[in-house]
Amino acid sequence: MPYPESLVAPMRAEMTSMGAVELRTVADVDAAVGSATGTTLVFVNSVCGCAAGNARPAVKMALGHGVLPDRTVTVFAGQDLDAVARARSYFGEYQPSSPSMALLRDGEVVHFVHRHQIEGRSPQSIAADLTKAFDTYCSGPVSA
């Protein structure tokens, strides 16, 4: 059951204020991810303070890096159920967890950060892994 919107609104705002585009419907997801070329970071937001409380600041830090994905989008697990299910349909074999992050290049997942890779880690540490993935996958040619 979704949490009250008043409770999650600040968590949505934390993502959009750093430049992430929030996708709240299936159509939003298909438009942003479905046919996207280039690189897309999809952040699966969560109310869970255990992990999401460090994940959101980590994304913000990573987005200050010199090499970035072409776009950053976010869906909210437990809140926008259809949009999240649709986003996860683009993640292939990677299993659902939240929070989590998928870096896609030309529609394929090239890097995935599961919840278990976020739990108990500092934002700095998570951001360092993310920027390493940006350097690996976001700096070269992406399309033929």
């Binding site: 869970c48 255990c50 989590s100 995935f112 278990h116 739990e119």
Partner: protein, 93 residues
């Protein structure tokens, strides 16, 4: 909002993805609590010795890469069946 925790005062492992070993296999899931009836996990998947394909190590390697393939929303494991608990993140690939 960053760092906000909705569930203070819980077990140290609350919310952490753990590997719980039993005599007959493994359960991997999000630790909730220790109740009088056992250890409660959420969104848990399992490896059963002699039933699940591959070895325990292979199952964990796949779980580390692709995440927990959850088969049950809630799983209560009697305490007497628990042989050990560790964080999934501490498992070497």
């Amino acid at each position: 909002m960053s760092g906000h925790v909705f569930h203070p005062g819980h077990h140290d492992l609350h919310g952490i993805t753990v590997v719980l070993e039993t005599n007959s296999g493994l359960w991997v899931g999000r630790f909730d609590s220790v109740t009088p009836k056992g250890v409660l996990l959420h969104d848990a998947g399992c490896y059963e010795d002699g039933v699940t394909e591959g070895t325990r190590e292979e199952y964990l390697r796949k779980t580390l890469k692709f995440g927990v393939r959850a088969t049950v929303k809630n799983k209560l494991i009697p305490e007497q069946d628990v042989r050990g608990i560790r964080q999934l993140a501490e498992v070497s690939a």
